[in-house]
């Protein structure tokens, strides 16, 4: 404990008192036509005092605490660190093993919904939507290094594109999936143009603004979007024209259960939506995996690493940034379309800033640029709050805590990104076969 620690402790406490007294110490209570300020009840004041004491002591003894935490960590055999690395190394050495594992996991994911409860399948579908959003934002934030706080705007564009195209033009889910993706990409493109001159914090603030503009536009353009009432009765996706409702909504359509001659069950619809989301996620994973190993993916990362060096090598900074923005937005568009179809009802309320924050948290938590990390984080971020329903009020607080612990524990994310290992042509024997099977290199 030294003077610096003491100063830190004092400053932290003062900041805490100021923030806490405004946020938690006083309350506005309606009083006739006006508002009155009342003080919080003694229990809360007591709790705040305890928090203050803890904070003060922690700051004061910060270095001994963190150093003992370090020794504690070093003493632990921490399997996680070694485990993912070991698994990845195994996958590298035995491509067959990797393929086999993927096949097993896939089979498990496909069979699982038929045995799981309806609620958990529904939750898994939601998690898959977030996986898709996380993967899309990962392109922009994790790979290209552009902090985008308005990603939810493109999600909204996708959802509303489907809802409106269906309502006004009667287009079905499958054609809208493509169109909405393109519309969202287009929005990403035109919004990207003016903002991509900015860097870092400025970019973050402007994208935040764009996200809000889109939401407010949807909220106020009542004649088209229905404003706060949203749009309801958005049709569910069909399987080659087969509907999953009890009776066909559209003339000439046959419900799924009649076609196969089985009894109607609302469970089929839930399972179908889950499987559809799974397919979308797999396609997303595949596309992004390819992109990563393509010139464009490498350019994104290079731009994140050093944009000055990029330019000096003849790469067009704006074009590369714009491509990341556009492609990232397209995935949000796909996710949005699926979301609208699954919910059957959308309103601007589903696309608030908090959604952007959650998606960003998924990317950071999982590990910037890491695909598997994002998948894992998306599952954690959607399933955990469901499991801990009673703490719903403290959800944001828990996210915050989680983030703080992540920064201490695994600053690079749950599963940090791993660089692809590219085999050089190392001898002539391989080079002659290279033309026949060059895929090995990728």
């Amino acid at each position: 404990m030294n003077a610096v620690n003491f100063k830190n402790a004092i400053i932290t406490s003062i900041v805490f008192v100021i923030l806490a007294s405004f946020m938690m110490g006083v309350q506005l209570v309606p009083d006739g036509t006006g508002l009155a300020i009342t003080f919080a009840d003694p229990v809360r004041i007591e709790a705040l005092a305890i928090a203050l004491a803890v904070l003060f002591v922690f700051q004061l003894f910060r270095s001994p605490i963190t150093s003992s935490w370090q020794t504690f960590r070093n003493a632990l055999p921490l399997p996680e660190q070694g485990l993912t690395e070991a698994l990845q190394a195994q996958g590298e050495k035995h491509p067959r093993l990797k393929q086999l594992t993927i096949a097993f996991v896939l089979a498990g994911l496909i069979i699982w919904p038929f045995y799981a409860s309806r609620g958990s399948v529904d939750l898994a579908t939601l998690a898959l939507i977030y996986v898709m959003l996380g993967l899309g934002l990962n392109i922009v934030v994790g790979l290209a290094g552009l902090l985008d706080l308005g990603y939810v705007g493109f999600y909204a564009v996708g959802a509303y594109s489907y809802a409106l195209l269906n309502q006004y033009l009667g287009l079905d889910f499958w054609s809208c999936l493509l169109i909405s993706g393109l519309i969202a990409a287009f929005f990403g493109f035109i919004l990207g143009f003016p903002v991509l001159r900015l860097r870092g914090d400025y970019l973050a603030i402007v994208t935040l603004g764009f996200g809000e503009i889109i939401r407010i536009l949807l909220l106020n353009w009542t004649s088209i979007t229905g404003g706060p009432n949203g749009i309801s009765q958005i049709p569910k996706p069909t399987l080659f024209g087969l509907e999953f409702s009890r009776r066909a909504k559209e003339e000439g359509n046959i419900p799924f259960h009649e076609f196969f001659g089985i009894d109607y069950s609302s469970g089929y619809k839930v399972i179908f939506l889950y499987l559809l989301a799974l397919v979308l996620v797999i396609v997303t994973l595949w596309v992004i995996n390819r992109l990563l190993r393509m010139p464009i993916g490498r350019a994104w990362e290079a731009l994140r690493e050093d944009d000055i060096a990029c330019q000096s090598l003849g790469m067009n900074k704006t074009a590369i940034k714009l491509s990341a923005f556009t492609i990232g937005a397209a995935f949000a568009g796909f996710a949005g379309t699926f979301f609208a179809a699954r919910q059957g009802f959308i309103s601007p309320e589903s696309f608030t800033f908090i959604e952007s924050a959650i998606i960003l948290a998924i990317v950071v938590l999982g590990g910037m640029g890491s695909q598997m990390g994002v998948v894992l984080a998306a599952i954690i971020m959607t399933v955990l709050p469901e499991l801990a329903r009673e703490f719903n009020e403290y959800r944001m607080l828990m996210f915050g805590l989680l983030m703080v612990f992540m920064m201490i524990w695994r600053p690079a994310g749950l599963i940090p990104m791993k660089r692809p290992h590219i085999a050089l042509k190392d001898n002539d024997e391989q080079s002659s076969s290279a033309s026949r099977k060059p895929a090995q290199a990728a």
């Binding site: 010139p295 490498r298 000096s312 090598l313 790469m315 050089l424 033309s435 895929a439």
Partner: protein
């Protein structure tokens, strides 16, 4: 691997003049700079600098720290927009062109402080640099069309060739940020070379290298000029290196041109001696 790489041998070069160098040597001005001036507010960092680089030459810029050498490079490569003056590259006016446009024309540079893509592997650094030579079509990349595979293969071959050249083959799949300093310097030069430039600008490439590494660098630079068709512009403080390899030397002092000539002339120029001794 001593033979020139096929990719480089086949490359069409508008100004092919290696064979009849003797007759054209004097006339082929690759880069002509006139009255280049760069002001930062009140500070005149570069004042009416005149430069001339002929094809196949190694031209050095020397001068004390803060003389404005790096600023000249920044102006030539489009990082700064010159306040005044003209830059002509192969007779074409490139004054004020954008950074990446200039490098697409074949002028690439290294930096005084190494700028690698640190968390990418050595090999990836070299692949990124070949961006414009690659098949960047999204669909052909997604579905790995034969044309796409061929272009990736070529990029890998080219990277392998240069890795071998700068002795980094072993490090191909290491993160660039983990290399030793001398290796990072070499990688930066290799990264320039895979873009297949006509003009290479090196900003203090020997800074921080040990004598052995400096000697290798000397050989590498000469090899680049002799066998890879690049002209080199060099900023360097290592006088031994500069005097050994330069065809022509420009001396800048406080932004103003002080002298220029062959290494012999510069060595014996009283102004230069004074400027350097005055500094030390």
């Amino acid at each position: 691997m001593s033979k020139a790489h096929p990719l480089h041998a086949n490359q069409p070069r508008p100004l092919e003049g290696v064979l009849d160098m003797s007759s054209q040597n004097k006339k082929q001005n690759l880069l002509e700079v006139d009255d280049l001036t760069m002001r930062f507010g009140g500070l005149i960092a570069v004042n009416k600098v005149k430069l001339n680089v002929e094809k196949g030459q190694i031209v050095s810029i020397i001068g004390p720290n803060g003389a404005g050498k790096t600023t000249v490079f920044n102006c030539l490569t489009g990082f700064y927009k010159p306040s005044d003056g003209r830059i002509r590259y192969r007779g074409e006016n490139i004054t004020g062109s954008k950074n990446h446009e200039i490098s697409l024309k074949g002028i690439v540079r290294t930096f005084q402080h190494v700028r690698l893509f640190k968390s990418m592997t050595v090999l990836e650094n070299l692949l990124v640099a070949q961006h414009r030579h690659l098949n960047t079509n999204l669909l052909s990349g997604l579905f790995k069309t034969p044309a796409y595979r061929r272009s990736e293969r070529e990029a890998l071959d080219c990277a392998a060739y240069w890795l071998d050249k700068v002795n980094l083959t072993e490090m191909a799949n290491r993160d660039a940020g983990n290399l030793a300093y001398g290796q990072q310097r070499r990688l930066e030069i290799a990264r320039c070379m895979v873009t297949r430039p006509d003009m290479l600008m090196l900003d203090e490439p020997a800074a921080g290298l040990n004598p052995q590494e400096t000697k290798e660098l000397d050989e590498l630079i000469c090899d680049l000029r002799d066998h890879h068709d690049v002209s080199v512009m060099l900023i360097e403080h290592d006088m031994k290196l500069v005097m050994e390899i330069s065809d022509h030397i420009y001396v800048i002092n406080q932004g103003t041109p002080l002298a220029d000539g062959t290494p012999e002339q510069i060595k014996n120029n009283p102004d230069v001696i004074k400027a350097y001794l005055g500094e030390a």
